[in-house]
């Protein structure tokens, strides 16, 4: 039996039937390796997944720094999503930064019985008086949809009353099967209400948006540093350190870079349809990937000067970190890793680990879809189930004035042939090897079983798994919060990541786990007959 079979063998037939299609030990046989994804988690299995609200408010909408994001519901969800994701934000000159704040209607029994719209509107009046923001987001939690509060209607009334932007998101926790539905709902809201409402044109020759970059630990800032050094203008970042003010003008950028494919691909696709902006799936995690990403972007603009400048920056950056990277590689080479994370990180970090000589033998996602594993070519084969159908598919059409294609179809094909991955993503699986394990919607039991059977040296996951993995004697680092470190992206980030992984593997306390009396014979006994 291989490790997959050993694992599945422990399940009852009922659970086995469900989980077998979500666990794939790669074969690279005649048929392409495939995996089931984005289906309901099994009740009681201890899934790592969160909910729709977590995807909408927690991931996509919450980091927008100049907007007041109000959680409409009882207090818990606002509390748990307050300052806990490390999406760093810094106020621009003269602008507000609401990221350190948490706003909630804190609904009580009477609000549940009689409806909470009034309380929400009264609360918004107070927010206007206290802070006078330009933009308000309202994110619904579970009870809202059930009691019938209409947050979109409230948003419209607020816009009329105050002349500001207000967007209601019906991202009740029970919608969809994971955070993924919340990403989609957030993408729809941003596309409908914000993108395209500004008219501030970029000043530089080549301008970019970075989509799906949440600036965890400052990742977005490291990416911007490199891009600006080459000479690009970053128009907006979705949404880490992002803002309503800059997102309004996102449609005026030349190219979209997509970091987290899962959480933001909808916006990338819709902007392509509506404004003709191409997107490239990029990866700033890892030295090799960062170089590849930078070269693709330069190649896309077909400007020899830009290409030369890119090479210049790459060689400068590489030189600055090569000694450090060589050292850490000497410490980490030959180790194996497992990665369980959300959006695209389980894929992205394999590149960085490979730079360090570490192979990722187990990789899984909490809430990915099949295209995140198998590539976008699979999308046409994905059947919509009842849970997906409940999430609005926003249809956009080319904008009469603003739609503009940079390149013809033929030119795009030419660029693709040169290796510029335009409007596409091949997924995680093609970057993994035979025998490696791919798991969708992993749970506590499977995590622990795979650690036993595949014995990775280090396991990257989230806080819910971290300590149970560590108690088993395996190094664990959080890939959601970076264990309070970072940035991990770009050139400088790679060194910080390498340092952190080395620190966790070699920390002295690991050697102290077993007390000396467990291994030493008890001395001082006497042999019978003496004295």
């Amino acid at each position: 039996m291989n490790e997959r079979e050993i694992l599945l063998d422990k399940y009852s037939s009922r659970v086995f039937k469900n989980r077998k299609s979500h666990i794939s030990q790669l074969e690279y046989g005649e048929e392409a390796d495939s995996i089931a994804a984005n289906t309901r988690a099994i009740p009681g299995i201890a899934t790592a997944r969160g909910c729709c609200y977590a995807g909408c408010k927690g991931v996509v909408v919450g980091p927008m720094k100049d907007a007041v994001t109000i959680t409409h519901g009882p207090i818990g969800c606002a509390f748990y999503s307050w300052g806990t994701r490390r999406n760093k934000a810094k106020a621009q000159d003269g602008e507000s930064n609401f990221v350190p704040y948490s706003f909630c209607t804190d609904m009580r029994p009477t609000d549940i019985v009689f409806g909470g719209e009034k309380k929400l509107e009264d609360g918004i009046d107070e927010v206007m008086k206290l802070f006078n923001p330009k933009c308000i987001f309202i994110c619904s939690t579970c009870p809202i949809g059930l009691i019938g509060d209409d947050v979109q209607a409230v948003a419209r009334r607020v816009e009329k009353k105050y002349g500001i932007k207000a967007v209601g998101f019906s991202c009740e926790g029970y919608k969809g099967v994971s955070q993924s539905s919340g990403h989609h709902i957030a993408n729809n809201g941003l596309m409908k209400e914000i993108i395209g409402t500004g008219d501030k044109k970029p000043r530089k020759k080549y301008s970019l948006n970075i989509l799906g970059e949440y600036n965890i630990g400052g990742d977005g800032w490291e990416e911007e540093r490199i891009l600006k050094k080459i000479g690009y203008e970053v128009v907006s970042v979705f949404t880490g350190d992002g803002s309503y003010e800059t997102m309004k003008n996102a449609h005026l950028a030349d190219l979209n870079l997509v970091m987290c494919h899962r959480s933001i691909n909808y916006v990338a696709e819709m902007m392509k349809t509506k404004y003709g902006i191409d997107w490239i799936k990029v990866n700033f995690i890892g030295i090799g990937s960062t170089c590849k990403t930078l070269r693709m972007i330069a190649e896309y603009f077909k400007d020899p000067e830009l290409i030369a400048r890119t090479e210049e920056v790459i060689s400068e950056e590489l030189q600055a970190i090569s000694d450090d990277m060589d050292y850490y590689k000497s410490m980490l080479k030959g180790k194996t890793a497992g990665i369980f994370s959300g959006g695209s990180r389980s894929h992205h970090y394999q590149s960085l680990l490979r730079d360090l000589g570490v192979e990722t033998i187990i990789a899984g996602y909490e809430f990915a879809h099949r295209d995140d594993y198998e590539g976008r070519a699979i999308i046409s084969q994905i059947k919509m189930d009842a849970d997906s159908k409940n999430i609005e598919e926003l249809t956009v059409s080319p904008d009469e004035i603003l739609y503009k294609e940079r390149y013809s179809k033929e030119e795009i094909e030419e660029l693709k042939a040169k290796g510029v991955e335009i409007d596409t993503y091949d997924g995680m699986i093609p970057d993994m090897k035979k025998g490696y394990m791919v798991i969708d919607d992993y749970n506590a039991f499977e995590t622990d079983e795979l650690i036993k059977s595949m014995k990775p040296d280090i396991f990257f996951s989230g806080i819910k798994d971290k300590y149970s993995i560590q108690k088993q004697g395996v190094v664990s680092r959080q890939l959601h919060s970076y264990d309070y470190s970072g940035p991990y992206s770009g050139f400088n980030g790679a060194v910080i990541f390498a340092r952190d992984v080395t620190m966790s593997i070699y920390t002295k306390a690991w050697m102290l786990t077993i007390p000396p009396w467990k291994t030493a014979a008890l001395l001082g006994g006497r042999i019978g007959g003496e004295n």
């Binding site: 399940y11 988690a41 099994i42 009740p43 009681g44 299995i45 201890a46 997944r49 909910c51 977590a54 519901g73 009882p74 207090i75 818990g76 969800c77 606002a78 748990y80 307050w82 806990t84 930064n97 609401f98 350190p100 704040y101 909630c104 209607t105 804190d106 609904m107 009580r108 549940i112 009264d122 609360g123 107070e126 008086k129 939690t141 579970c142 009870p143 949809g145 059930l146 009691i147 009740e172 926790g173 029970y174 919608k175 969809g176 994971s178 955070q179 849970d387 506590a444 039991f445 989230g462 806080i463 819910k464 798994d465 971290k466 300590y467 149970s468 560590q470 108690k471 088993q472 786990t513």
Partner: protein
């Protein structure tokens, strides 16, 4: 930090900004984690369970195992009966606990899921228990959820006693594992045999051995002890908010008389605990405890130079805030702002009474329940304090206003090692007096000019 917070105070807001409480279900989950061989189960959307496990893991730096009914839109319309029965089957098959402790969420409460009824219809394996508590997130706070879950355990498990035993029930309230250990140590020193519920010692502080078990044996309140609670001759319930309703339940249903005392922090509140134990054991207090008490009082006297008349803002959960207010008063400090997010007006009464007991004028302080940290920050902007005491979320105010902060209560997300040590008892008092005085002295040192910089203090 928090640059946008205006000084002008807005009273009676509808919008809560920077909460000082969270929702009931996390309290239920925390309570259930303190029972041996028990899986907490969240009956609602996955996100609830994920958020609760996360905040508990971040506070304790430990695994916090729990499962969810994983509601979808369908379940939210048609009810969560089948989700619960599937979950229960899977939990027993895969994780194999003895008990599943189900708590509800705002979702399952709003749709009116009758979890008690669902459980009655379940096929539960022999020798296994499934129980539940109702914890609607739109009522009370996490403290209420903790109480409700305690009652849930007793409703399902505590047996009618024909004869009382010599054992005493102890409810520690919402405290850390280090506190559980200390409270039990004191009870043992006082010669009292006890049933301790719930008990997180050894669970949310698992020793590092290289082996991990979902449900380690021999730690947590055993099922047998919960069953036997009804036979306890007396109950000492600590925390007048977290433990009152469970204590009243045990008294009404099983005729176990109780003394309800505050969480024993500082000298006089620990004295209350020791006196309550003494009343039961009829034994004099051994020297070992009297010496500990003496060392705490000695420390307070030695360091009063730095605490006397210092103003302090204390915020967090009602029980621990009450008890820290008492400790601060003993240190000669002035609790200027005493605040909880938990919506219990009784808190204001009790803290006001505490001020009066000590001959202090409560009207010169702001004592408020059902409020938030935004309000506290506005108060501080108008009249600052020398020290903040409370959860990690106050660190924003501390940074904004340049005030030292001592972390206590729940959640402490940004410091290590606090939860394995005691806050309660004379020993906990010594630890916290040290923390308080250290932080005040550190500030003096940091701000002193060279000519005023003292090596001896």
């Amino acid at each position: 930090m928090l640059d946008l917070t205006p000084k002008e105070i807005m009273e009676n807001r509808h919008i809560t900004i920077n909460p000082c409480k969270t929702c009931e279900p996390v309290g239920a989950m925390f309570c259930a984690l303190g029972v041996e061989n028990c899986m907490p189960h969240s009956h609602g959307s996955q996100g609830c369970c994920s958020y609760h496990r996360t905040v508990l893991s971040r506070h304790f730096k430990e695994p916090a195992m729990a499962t969810s009914s994983s509601f979808t839109e369908g379940a939210s319309v048609f009810g969560g009966r089948s989700n619960l029965s599937t979950a229960v089957k899977n939990i027993f098959e895969i994780y194999d606990p003895e008990i599943i402790a189900v708590h509800t969420t705002c979702l399952s409460e709003t749709i009116g899921d009758d979890v008690g009824n669902y459980i009655m219809d379940l096929e539960i394996p022999k020798d296994k228990i499934v129980l539940h508590a109702s914890t609607p997130s739109y009522e009370g706070s996490h403290i209420q959820g903790f109480s409700n879950m305690m009652i849930g355990f007793m409703r399902y498990m505590t047996e009618k006693a024909i004869e009382k035993t010599e054992k005493v029930a102890i409810f520690p309230g919402w405290v850390n594992p280090g506190d559980d250990r200390e409270l039990k140590r004191i009870a043992t020193i006082m010669g009292v045999e006890y049933l301790f519920f719930p008990d997180h010692e050894g669970i949310l502080e698992m020793p590092m051995t290289g082996k991990y078990k979902y449900f380690p044996k021999g730690v947590g309140t055993p099922a047998a002890d919960i069953k036997a609670l009804g036979a306890a001759k007396k109950l000492i319930a600590m925390g007048t908010f977290a433990s009152y309703e469970p204590a009243e339940y045990l008294d009404k249903q099983h005729k176990v008389p109780f003394s309800l005392i505050p969480v024993p922090i500082g000298v006089s509140l620990t004295d209350k605990y020791v006196m309550a134990l003494r009343e039961i054991s009829h034994k004099e207090v051994p020297n070992v405890l009297e010496d500990e008490r003496g060392r705490l009082v000695d420390l307070m006297l030695d360091s009063h130079l730095y605490t006397y008349n210092k103003t302090v803002a204390i915020y967090g959960d009602p029980d621990i805030v009450y008890s820290f207010t008492s400790l601060c008063i003993e240190l000669g400090m002035i609790p200027k702002y005493v605040i909880t997010g938990t919506p219990k007006e009784e808190f204001v009464k009790q803290v006001t009474a505490l001020f009066e007991e000590h001959g202090m004028d409560a009207s010169k302080s702001v004592i408020r329940a059902d409020t938030d940290l935004f309000y506290l920050h506005q108060l501080i902007k108008n009249e600052s304090v020398d020290l903040l005491i409370g959860s990690s979320y106050g660190k924003q105010i501390a940074k904004a206003e340049g005030i030292p902060i001592v972390r206590m209560g729940f959640p402490v997300l940004d410091r290590y090692g606090n939860t394995v040590q005691a806050t309660v008892g004379y020993a906990g008092g010594i630890r916290y007096v040290e923390k308080i005085v250290d932080s005040l002295l550190d500030k003096i040192d940091a701000e002193a000019s060279d000519e005023d910089f003292d090596v001896v203090m």
